[in-house]
């Protein structure tokens, strides 16, 4: 409940404040958002599996975000930034899909 509230609060805050993305963060924010979404779905699935743990969620969330940003940063330094961010998005997308599929099986048995 608090998580949902937080999500709604964040969205409202984003709509209200209309923040601009700092130039330095521009390449990393989309990847970070995808990584966080992955963590969110992972957490939801863990909750349905009954193995959810606050600490694990927080750590996986933060590490996912930092790692994704780090990979893209590294790619930028190596000159393969766009390819590597594509790779990260693909991998995270696959994970999100498999987590969503697991959630679906839990809730609908299908």
């Amino acid at each position: 409940m608090i998580a949902l509230l937080g999500l709604a609060l964040g969205i409202v805050a984003g709509l209200l404040f209309e923040p601009t993305v700092p130039v330095g963060l521009q390449p990393y924010l989309p990847i970070a958002v995808i990584a966080a979404l992955d963590a969110l779905f992972g957490g939801l699935r863990a909750r349905l599996d009954g193995i959810f743990d606050d600490k694990v969620f927080v750590v996986s969330f933060l590490s996912n975000v930092v790692l994704a940003a780090l990979i893209v940063f590294l790619g930028d330094q190596l000159g393969v930034g766009s390819q590597l961010s594509t790779a990260v998005v693909v991998v995270l997308g696959i994970r999100i899909f498999s987590n969503a599929a697991a959630i679906r099986r839990h809730l609908f048995k299908a």
């Binding site: 984003g14 966080a36 979404l37 969330f61 766009s82």
Partner: protein, 250 residues
């Protein structure tokens, strides 16, 4: 993580109740932390979405921008060279058209001049009308030749005698009933239409001891009128040349 085996005892109903139970607020530190992270996620999500919608080129990374710039530069260079090429072609075509136009005009003018000189075309212009009245047919072909020579010396450009165009090929012949022009008997009175400088021609014909004096001395009479509008309407066909061909001039 990807393939956690489903526990056999969890049914759909249990899962839903699990989800509902999870939604119940439990104000533990961990829950609050999760809420904060979710708020952060929502905030970042909205920010990124707005950013993507708001900015076109500014959202692209530097390498993409450089590539884009290079592509655009290449394309514009290509287009510019194409423009230059097309302009060159256009200029060539235009000058070609002008040259052809000029050549056509020159050829048309030349054709007109030569058509008049060869008797192929009717002509109009200032000149004189000469009427020879010769009821007793005393004038001979040599008199006609004298008149014509005088006309040519005076610069006559087109001459017609009784409907016969007079050119370089014209001949005068003494026939039993009178003078023949190109094989056609002249009428009485005989009318000459001459295009040329009226003043010069009339002076040349009237000169003492000249052509008209010769006519009068032979017993015929002549009437000479100058006009600004003399029409030479008779034409003749130019024969095909069988032997002579023009020499190509360098």
């Amino acid at each position: 993580m990807t393939h956690v085996p489903e526990r056999p005892e969890s049914s759909a109903r249990e899962s839903w109740s699990l989800l509902l139970r999870a939604l119940r607020p439990k104000a533990s530190a961990g829950q609050v932390l999760v809420g904060v992270l979710c708020a952060l996620l929502g905030f970042a999500l909205v920010t990124q979405v707005r950013h993507t919608h708001a900015s076109g080129l500014s959202a692209l990374r530097q390498s993409d921008l450089v590539r884009l710039l290079e592509e655009t530069t290449d394309r514009s260079r290509e287009l510019r060279s194409r423009v230059a090429e097309l302009e060159r072609t256009r200029d060539e075509l235009a000058s070609g058209t002008n040259q052809q136009q000029a050549a056509l005009e020159a050829a048309t003018a030349r054709a007109g001049t030569q058509g008049i000189l060869s008797g192929r075309l009717p002509a109009v212009g200032p000149g004189v009308r000469l009427t020879l009245s010769d009821p007793s047919r005393v004038l001979t072909a040599s008199t006609y030749v004298t008149i014509l020579t005088e006309l040519r010396n005076a610069g006559a450009e087109a001459v017609q005698v009784d409907g016969q165009r007079v050119t370089a090929e014209t001949f005068f012949l003494d026939g039993p009933d009178g003078v023949l022009v190109d094989g056609v008997l002249v009428q009485n009175p005989t009318s000459w239409h001459v295009i040329g400088d009226p003043h010069t021609i009339s002076q040349a014909l009237e000169i003492p001891g000249g052509a008209l004096a010769l006519v009068r001395s032979q017993g015929a009479s002549s009437t000479l009128t100058t006009s600004e509008q003399v029409e030479v309407t008779a034409t003749r066909t130019v024969p095909e040349l069988r032997f002579a061909t023009p020499v190509e001039s360098g």
